[in-house]
Subunit: 459 residues, 2 copies
C-alpha cells in the first residue's frame, strides 16, 4: 500500500511549501510531491503542526568513537594534541569484542536517527582481533556494524577502510593492531562484502589516508573502487604533520599528489581538507571532488578551520560528518562552516549568495544532498525516485517557534535544537515516532553495560 504524508509544511529545493504532500510507494521510494491526487488505496499520515524535510546524510562516522565522548577532554588522559588524543581512541578500539562493536554502533546510530539523520557513511577500520589476527570471516566486524544499522533502521554506506601502515618511516603501532591489512587482504575482503549490497546497505572504499596507505596500494585500491563504481573516501590534510610527512615521502602534499595520480574525481571525497592551499582547492574543484567537513570534531581535535568560502566559491560540494561523535548534531556542523569563518574574518553572511544560493539553503544542502552525492545514495532531497528518507520538526518547538514557510529555513539551520525533531522515516518506514525508537531502552541499557567494561570505574 502506498503512503501519503501530509505535513503542514513540506521542504522542497530550498523552500517550504504549505499544503504539500509526499506520496511514497511500496518500494520505499518517493513517487510524487503533490497536492491533488487520488486517495484510494493509500495510507494517509497526517502531520499537523509539523514540517517534513529530507533526512540528514552523515557522510563520515566512526561509530565506535562514541565510547570516547567526554573521555578525552583532559591533558592527563589524552594530552594536548591530535596525536596524543589517538591513545584514548586506541584504548576504546582495542577493548571491543564483536558483540560490543555491534552495541556501540547501535548507540551511535540511534542518536543519529533521533537527530534526523537517515543515512550514515561509516568509515570502518576495525578489522582484526585485538592482537591483529583476522577473524574466520575477515569482514566479521564490518558485518557487525551493518547489522547494527539494520537493527536500528538507518541506511548505511559501509566505507570499508584500508589501513596498511602507521606512516612513512614509522614502525607498526601496537595501538593500530586491529586496523592493519595488506592490499591483497583488503581487496579480498572488499570483494566478499559487495554481494551483501541492498537498498539499505551499500558500500564504498576508504583508503584511510596518505599516511596509512602508501601510493602503490592506493593506486590498486582506487582502481578497484572505480572498476566497481564505488565511492572513494579518504582522510586528507587533517593535520599539518600529515602534510609534512607526505611532502617528505613523495615531494608533494596530499592533494597535489592525489591530483597528479588522478585519484581525485567526482567519485572521490576528501575528508577534512583543512590544510589546503588555494591552488589545491582549485585542484579539488577541477577534479569535481567532494569535501567532507566534520566541524564539531575538527574543533574538538583542534584540527583547524576548513576554508569553506573558497571551496564553495570554486564549486566544491561540501558534505558533513559526525566523525568522532563528540556531538551528533548535523545542523551544528552545518552552521559551524559559516560561523568559523565569521570568527576568523569578523564578517557575517560569508557563504551567502556565493553561488546564487541563500546561506541557509547552502548549509542545508551540505547536510543533505551533498552527503548523498558523496556516498552515492539516492536520497538527500524529497523528489520522485529517491528513497523516502525524511524527518519532521515540531513547528511549536521553542527553538524555532514563530516562523512560517518563508523564514523557517534560516532559523532551523542556525537555531534548531534536537528537541524539535519528532518523527524519522526511512524508506517509508516510520522508525521514530514522537522522539522515540521502539528499541531505545534496550540499546541504551546494552551500551551502558559496555561502557563500564571499557572504562572500569575506580572504587
Amino acid at each position: 500500500m502506498k503512503t501519503l504524508y501530509r505535513p503542514e509544511l513540506l521542504y522542497s529545493n530550498g523552500t517550504f511549501i504549505t499544503g504539500g504532500e509526499l506520496l511514497v510507494g511500496e518500494d520505499g521510494r518517493i513517487e510524487a510531491l503533490t497536492n491533488s491526487f487520488d486517495r484510494n488505496h493509500t495510507h494517509i499520515v497526517a502531520l499537523p503542526g509539523k514540517a517534513l524535510l529530507p533526512g540528514f546524510i552523515n557522510a563520515h562516522s566512526h561509530s565506535f568513537q562514541r565510547l570516547i565522548r567526554g573521555k578525552s577532554e583532559s591533558r592527563v588522559t589524552s594530552g594536548t594534541d591530535f596525536w596524543s588524543w589517538r591513545g584514548t581512541m586506541y584504548h576504546a578500539a582495542n577493548g571491543l569484542d564483536p558483540q560490543q562493536v555491534y552495541d556501540v554502533a547501535r548507540m551511535a546510530f540511534l542518536e543519529m536517527l533521533l537527530s534526523g539523520t537517515t543515512t550514515v557513511g561509516e568509515f570502518h577500520y576495525l578489522h582484526t582481533t585485538p592482537n591483529g589476527q583476522p577473524y574466520d570471516d575477515p569482514n566479521l566486524l564490518a558485518k557487525q556494524v551493518i547489522a547494527a544499522a539494520q537493527s536500528v533502521g538507518i541506511r548505511i554506506v559501509l566505507l570499508r577502510t584500508a589501513y596498511l601502515r602507521a606512516g612513512f618511516e614509522l614502525p607498526p603501532d601496537p595501538g593500530q593492531a586491529r586496523f592493519y591489512e595488506t592490499t591483497d587482504s583488503f581487496l579480498h575482503a572488499m570483494s566478499e562484502l559487495l554481494p551483501h549490497r541492498s537498498d539499505r546497505v551499500q558500500f564504498g572504499v576508504a583508503p584511510h589516508s596518505i599516511r596509512a596507505v602508501p601510493l602503490a596500494g592506493l593506486r590498486t585500491i582506487a582502481a578497484f573502487a572505480r572498476a566497481h563504481h564505488l565511492p572513494l573516501h579518504m582522510h586528507v590534510a587533517e593535520q599539518l604533520a600529515e602534510n609534512a610527512a607526505c611532502l617528505r615521502e613523495y615531494g608533494a602534499t596530499p592533494v597535489t599528489l592525489l591530483a597528479r595520480e588522478a585519484i581525485l574525481g567526482s567519485d572521490f571525497t576528501a575528508v577534512h581538507a583543512v590544510h589546503v592551499t588555494s591552488h589545491e582547492i582549485q585542484m579539488l574543484a577541477d577534479a569535481r571532488t567532494s569535501v567532507c567537513s566534520c566541524p564539531t570534531t575538527e574543533r574538538n581535535l583542534g584540527d583547524g578551520f576548513v576554508p569553506a568560502d573558497a571551496m564553495l566559491a570554486s564549486g566544491i560540494r561540501i558534505a558533513l560528518g559526525s566523525d568522532s561523535q563528540a556531538q551528533i548534531d548535523p545542523l551544528e556542523d552545518a552552521r559551524q562552516l559559516e560561523y568559523h569563518l565569521r570568527l576568523q574574518h569578523q564578517k557575517r553572511a560569508i557563504l551567502d549568495q556565493l553561488r546564487g544560493k541563500s546561506l541557509a539553503a547552502e548549509l542545508f544542502d551540505c547536510a543533505t544532498r551533498n552527503g548523498a552525492q558523496s556516498l552515492a545514495v539516492n536520497a538527500g532531497a524529497l523528489q520522485p525516485g529517491e528513497f523516502a528518507d525524511c524527518f519532521t520538526i515540531d513547528l511549536n518547538d521553542p527553538s524555532i517557534a514563530g516562523s512560517s514557510a518563508n523564514d523557517l529555513l534560516p532559523i532551523l539551520v542556525f537555531s534548531l535544537n534536537r528537541s524539535a525533531v519528532r518523527d524519522v522515516i526511512i524508506g517509508g518506514q516510520h522508525l521514530i515516532e514522537d522522539q522515540h525508537h521502539p528499541n531505545q531502552a534496550e540499546i541504551i541499557a546494552r551500551y551502558r553495560a559496555l561502557h563500564t567494561t571499557i572504562w572500569p570505574q575506580p572504587r
Copy 2:
C-alpha cells in the same frame, strides 16, 4: 513544609555524589546536602535515573532579540557586519508595544528554563515609546520584562541600561529612539525601580557602552551603582570600531579608560571583552572584574575570539550570556570558550588545569557560579544558604548515556543536548516537569501571533 530531593547523582563542587540528597526549606533556600537526616514533615521528591545540578546563570540577555533569530542571516536583509546587523535588530525593537515586550520576553525565558537556566541577567535598553517619548511610567517596559520573568518563574536580575547617545561625534540614530535617556532620567527611573526588589527580582546598573555613555554620565552612573551596592554591567570591546572611537575621544581604549577611572572593580562585569590586549587583561584581573562572554552570539555577529586562556590564567572569572538569543544553549556557550581556542591554536585541552581545575569543571563554573557572582545572586552552586535553583538531566539521554559519577561532568559539558534536561526547580518550586512548562502552549501561541506582526508574511 521542607522538600528533600533524592536524585541518583548530585552535583557538588566539580564532582557527582551517588546517593546525595538536597534539603530545601520553605523559604526556597538550600538547607543541607545530606544523606542521613530526619524525614519527618518533609516532602520527598525521588528523582531516579537523574542527576541534579545547579541551574545555569545567564548573565547577559536581550530577550526581545529572540525576534531576530533566523532573520539576520542574509547579506540582503542584514548586511555583512555587526553594524549593518543592527538595522534588523532595531526593526524588531521599534515594532514592539508593551504587551509584545512581555510576550517576547516570556518566549525567551521559557526557552532558557527548558535549557536548565534558572537566573537571567536581562540587559534591558528599551525604555520609551517608538517615537522616543517616555511612557507615563518610565519603567513600564522594564516592568513588562520583570512581569514576564515572574510569569514564567525564572529568577531575574534586571540590568537597567543607560543609553545616552549614538556615539562619539555621531548624530542621534532614529533606530535607537527607544533607548535614549539622560543621566538624570536614568537615575530617576533606577531609583523608582529599586523598591520592587524581591527574592526573584533583583537589579543591576548597565551603562550600555563607552560608545553610548560619555564619561561624565558614566562616572555618575557608576557612583550610583556603588552607593546602592548594585552590580555594574557594560559592553566592552566587542568590536574594533568601538575601541577606535574610544581612542579618538579619550586617548585610551575602553578597558584602559575604565581602569584609569576606577570604574573596573569586583562588582563590574565587562561584557564581551573580545578585543583586549594582554596588558588590558591584566588590568581587568587586577581590578577583580568579571568578564561575560557570549560565544554563540559572538560567532553569529562575527565579533571575534575571546582570549579565555589568558583571562582564566590571570584569575578573571568568566560568566556566560545568551545575548542575542541566536541559540539558547548554556553548555554550547561554555564549550565554545575552549573550542574556539583549539581552532586558533591547533591544540587541545587548552583551559585544562590552568589553575588546578579540570577543563570541564572550569567551563561548568563559567555557566553557573561565575554568572551568579557577576549578577550578585545567591545561586549557582548547591550549598546551604543559596537559592534552591537547579535542574535534572536524564542519565539515559542518548547524548550522555553510559557515564557514571566520575565521568559525567566532561561528557555533559562537551556533549549534552537539551533533550536531556527534564526538570527545572527554582527556589524549591518545580517549574518544569518532564520537559514541560504549564503555560508553554499559551506562551508559544502568543509569541507566534506577535512574530507575524513584526515580520508580516509576503502574500
